[in-house]
Symmetry: C3
Subunit: 396 residues, 3 copies
C-alpha cells in the first residue's frame, strides 16, 4: 500500500485537468502529463484492488457499450472496468435495437444516454468511418447536455477505431513501463513494429497505428516494417514523425523483419490489412458490391500468401538485443502449428513469452478504468487518496 | 432541492396505497391520485439524481425484462430505471431460453422470479395477445407467491402491449405537465392525436390508444383523426369517452389532419396500423399462413400509400394555436427527406421541436423508475424523504 | 431468524475448509461434510434473504457465465446467485467472441478472468468433453494465478456437464431434506430414478447420473431403471455403488418402471439419451458427419418411440409407498396432453406436484450461491454470523 500511496502522491505533479469531462479518442490528442496520469491511475487502481480496497465511485449509473465488431478481450476489459467503478454495462446491440431503422446517430446517442456516465465504442472495420462516428456521438451528447436533455454529458472511450486503438496501445505501454522499470528507462530503446503473415485477412490497422502513434512519445526508437503495399495511414505516420521529433526519439522504416529486429529491445510482429485495400473495401461495402468484396478478399489473401516469410521465428529473435527482446502482441496471435499452419509467430517464441503476453493483456481493464476515472472525477488524486484512506473492502 | 422536498411533501395528499405490490398494466386501471403520484415520484427521482443523491432502494435483486419486439428506447429506459434503484436487469431471451420448448407461461414465470422484484414485458405485435400474456404472468407469480414458491411477488410493468403503452403515454403526459407549468394548466387544451403516413407498416396501436386513454383524464380536448379504415380498438375509444365525461374534457373525432390541427395546443401525428388488419394478421400468424401475411403486408402498404397527404407539414402547423402547437412523437419519427422519402413529419417541423422531443423521451426512465418505486415501497413519501435527508451521493 | 442463527451455529461442526478457493465440479469429489455445509449455507442464505437481510459479500466483481447449451432455469439461477452476493454476470458468448477463431482455452480462460471471482460453465452436449473442458479452464486459471497474471484464482461452478449436474442434484437433495424434515430421515428411503419417454431426443445424461451419484451418499435405496440400451456412464454407476456401500444404503437396478416404483418414497422419471448413442454422436460431430448425425437422430427417435409405455401414470404412482411418493423432475417436463401428445408424465400427476416441483426448482439459486460463498469466503460460518448481526437490509 505504500507504493499505492506514493503513486497517488505523484499525481499532484501532473496536469490532467483537461481529461475531466473529456473523451479518450486518440492518444495523440492527449498531453504527455495526461498519458502519464492515465498510467499511474491504472497502477493505483490495480494496487487498490489487489489490496482488496474497492475504488467504486458510483452507487449507480450506466456504461454503454457499442461493439460493431467481435470482441472478447476488449468487451471483458470494458465490463471489468465499469464494474470496478460501480457502473453497469448496457450493450447497445444494433441487431436488437432500432438503430438500423432510419434513426440518426444524434437521436440514438441521446436516447441511450439519459443515465449514462460512459460510452465505449468499437468501430474499426471501415476506413474513415469509426473515429468519425465516435465524434458524431460525442458532438450529439454534448449538444444534448447543452440543450438540457441530458443532465450530464457522458464521456467516450474509443475501444478501437479505424485510426487508433488507445486502450490497447496504452495497455501495451504500461506493460513496457513495468517491464523496463519506469518510463525513463524506455528512452533510446528500440521497438520493432512489424507486419507478420496471417492466414486471415482484413485485420484492423489500429494496432500498428496506435503503437507508432504512442511509443514515439517516450523517446523510443520506433521502427516500422512491412511488405510493400501494406502501408498504414499516412496521417498516422506523420503523427509518429512529429512525436519522435518532439520527444527526442525516432521513427524510421526498415525494409524487412530482419533489419527491424536487429538489436531491438522490443518486437511487435502482427498482421494487418493494407490501408489502400481497406479503403477500397469500404467503398465496395458502401456500394453493396458483394462480388467486388469477394474478389478483393481473394486478392488480398493471395497477396498475403506471398509474404509467409514475414513470421517471428527463433532465428529472427536471435538478432534482437542479446537475443532477448521482449515479444509483444495484442492477442490472439496466429501461432504456427498451433492455431494455424503458418502464422505470425513460432510456437516456441510465443510459449516463452506467454506469461508476459497475458500480463500485457491484464493491463487493459485497468487502463480503461483509469480513462473512465479521469473523465468522471474532477480531482482524481484527492479522490484516490480518499478511497485509500477509507479502505472499503471489495471482497467484504 | 427545495423543489424536491416540496414535491415529496405533496405526496401525503395523494392516495396511492393501491399501487404497492401492484402491477402497472393500463393507465385506466389507475386512479387519478395514482397517476399523479407516479408523475410526482418521477419528478422527485429526477430531482434527486440531478442533485447527485442516489435513490437506490435495493442492495440486490433482479429486474427481469422480456422484449418480444425490438426496442432501443424502452429497453434503455427500463435498464436505467432498474439501475437507479439498485436492481440488475436479467433479460429473458426467448431464443436463448427454453421457453419455446413446451414450457407453460406459468412455469416460466415462476422459474425466472425466485429473486425478481420487477418484471417488464413488451409484447405488442398481436392484437388480443400482449396484455393477455401479461395478465397470465401476473396471475402465475401471484399463485407462486401464495403457494410459498416465491418469497415475494414480483410486480409487472407493461413496457408496451397491444392495448396500451403506459410508460410512453405517462412520459408524454409528464412532458406536457412540465411544458404547460402544471397539470391544472392542461384543462381545456386541445390535443390532436392523428394518424400520419409512414412507408413502413404494422406499427402498434398502443401509442395512439395510450394517448387517448390517458390524456382524456385531465380535462383536455382530445381529438382523434385518421383515414377511414385506421380505426383503433373500439374498447379504448369507449375508455376515452368515459374518461372525458368524468374529467370534464372531451373526446371527439375529426375528419382530417387540418380539422384536427385547427387551434390545437398540442399535435401528435404518428403512423399506426389499422386495428382490423392487425387482427387479421394475428389470425394469419396463428394459422402459419405466410402467403397470407405477405399478401396482407402488400395490401396494407398500398393502402398506406393512398394517404401520403397525412403528413405534418409547416402549413398544417400554421393552423394550430398561434401557429405554435407543441409537436410530440414517441420517436423514432419517419422524417420526410431525412429518414425516408415521404414520412410522418416535415424535416423543418421536426428540427424545430427536436430538443423538446428528446426531453419528452428523457421522462421515460423516470416514469418507469416511479412505477417500480411505488410498487415496491410501501410508503413512498416517507422513503423519499428519508433518501433526501440521507443525501447519499450517486457519484461519490 | 432464530432458525437461521441455529443453522449458522451448526456450521462449526462441519469441516468445509477444503471448499475455499476450490471448484465445484462433481458431487462425488466433495466430502459428506462439504455437501452438508453447502445445503446449510443455501438454507441460511435463503433465511437471510427472506428476512430482508442482504448477504452481499462483494462490492464489485464479475461472475462469468459460459453456456454452451440453451438454458433458462440454470441461467437465471446463476444470475440470481451472483446478484445476491454482489457479483455482476458477464456472459462469454462464443458467437459474439473470438473463441472459435483459433484461441486456446488457456488464453481465453485468462483473458476473461482478470476481475472474475466465479466462472460458471454449462457444457453438456458431448460425452467426454464438458467436464474435461471445465478442468482445462480450472488448470488455466490456476496457472494464471501462479504466474502472477491473475491477482486471484476464480473458482468454477459446474452448471451441467456430460457427467454430472451438481447444481441440479444438490437442489433436488435439499428439496428432499426439507420435505422429509432432515437428512437423517432419508435413511432407508427408496428413490426410483427411471427413464421416461419423451418425443424429443438427446437429453443429457447428467441429471440421472447426478442423482444416482449423490443420493446414494445419504443411506437411501436408489433404484435405477431404463429400457435396454439406455445405460448411463458405467463409471458413474461405479460411483453410485461405492457410495451406497460407504453410506449404508443401496444402489440397484430394476427391470421396469413398475418394479422401480413399487413401494418407492420418491420417484424421478425423466428422459435421457443412451450413453453409447451420445458417444457415437460426439464422434460424428468431430468428423463433421452431418448425414450420420441425421441418421442417428432418426434411429434414436424410432428407438425412443418403442418405449412409450415408460411414462409416469396414475396407475404407476399408485404402486408407490401409500400411493403417495414424492414426484420429482428437473423441469421442464414433457407432460402428456399438455406440452406433447405422449410424454414423461400424466398431466394429473404433474398437476398434483406442481407446487412441490416449483419449490424444488427454487432451491437452485440458493445452492449456487452457497457454492460461490463457500469457495470465496474463508470462514463461511463467521462471515454469515457477521452478516446476520449487521442485518443490512436487501430492500432498504
Amino acid at each position: 500500500m505504500n507504493d499505492t500511496r506514493a503513486l497517488i502522491e505523484t499525481l499532484s505533479s501532473l496536469d490532467y485537468e483537461g481529461m475531466y469531462q473529456n473523451d479518450f479518442l486518440l492518444t495523440w490528442e492527449k498531453s504527455q502529463d495526461e498519458l502519464m496520469a492515465t498510467f499511474r491511475v491504472a497502477q493505483i487502481l490495480r494496487g487498490l484492488r489487489e489490496a482488496n480496497i474497492s475504488p467504486r465511485i458510483f452507487d449507480s449509473g450506466l456504461a454503454i457499450s457499442l461493439f460493431r465488431d467481435q470482441s472478447t478481450r476488449t468487451r471483458f476489459s470494458f465490463a471489468s472496468a465499469a464494474n470496478l467503478l460501480g457502473l453497469t454495462v448496457q450493450d447497445l446491440d444494433e441487431k436488437k435495437s432500432q438503430v438500423a431503422h432510419g434513426e440518426t446517430v444524434r437521436e440514438t446517442a441521446n436516447m441511450i444516454s439519459f443515465m449514462a456516465d460512459v460510452i465505449g465504442i468499437r468501430d474499426d472495420m471501415f476506413i474513415g468511418k469509426g473515429n468519425t462516428y465516435m465524434r458524431e456521438v460525442a458532438k450529439s451528447v454534448q449538444e444534448g447536455f447543452e440543450d438540457g436533455v441530458l443532465e450530464q454529458r457522458p464521456t467516450l472511450v474509443n475501444l478501437q477505431c479505424d485510426i487508433d486503438h488507445p486502450t490497447q496501445s496504452m495497455a501495451d505501454m504500461l506493460h513496457l513501463i513495468e517491464r523496463f522499470g519506469g518510463v525513463e528507462n524506455l528512452k533510446g530503446k528500440k521497438i520493432a513494429m512489424t507486419w507478420a503473415y496471417s492466414p486471415s485477412y482484413g485485420k484492423p490497422l489500429s494496432v500498428p497505428q496506435g503503437v507508432i502513434g504512442l511509443m514515439t512519445r517516450f523517446g523510443m526508437e520506433v521502427v516500422l516494417a512491412h511488405p510493400e503495399g501494406y502501408e498504414v495511414m499516412p496521417e498516422v505516420e506523420a503523427v509518429a514523425k512529429r512525436n519522435a521529433e518532439a520527444g527526442g526519439g525516432s521513427f524510421t522504416r526498415a525494409g524487412g523483419m530482419a533489419e527491424a529486429f536487429e538489436g531491438a529491445d522490443i518486437v511487435y510482429p502482427k498482421s494487418w490489412a493494407p490501408f489502400a485495400a481497406m479503403e477500397k473495401r469500404t467503398r465496395l461495402y458502401e456500394d453493396g458490391d458483394w462480388d467486388g468484396i469477394d474478389a478483393l478478399e481473394k486478392e488480398l489473401l493471395a497477396e498475403n500468401a506471398r509474404h509467409k516469410d514475414w513470421t517471428c521465428t527463433e532465428e529472427l529473435m536471435a538478432k534482437t538485443k542479446d537475443g532477448a527482446a521482449l515479444y509483444m502482441h495484442c492477442l490472439p496471435a496466429d501461432i504456427t502449428g498451433v492455431s494455424c499452419e503458418e502464422g505470425e509467430v513460432a510456437a516456441s517464441v510465443f510459449d516463452r513469452y506467454r506469461v508476459a503476453l497475458y500480463r500485457e493483456a491484464s493491463q487493459k481493464p485497468y487502463i480503461i478504468a483509469a480513462m473512465m476515472f479521469l473523465a468522471r472525477v474532477r480531482n482524481a488524486g484527492e479522490k484516490l487518496m480518499e478511497i485509500l484512506e477509507r479502505g472499503e473492502p471489495r471482497r467484504r
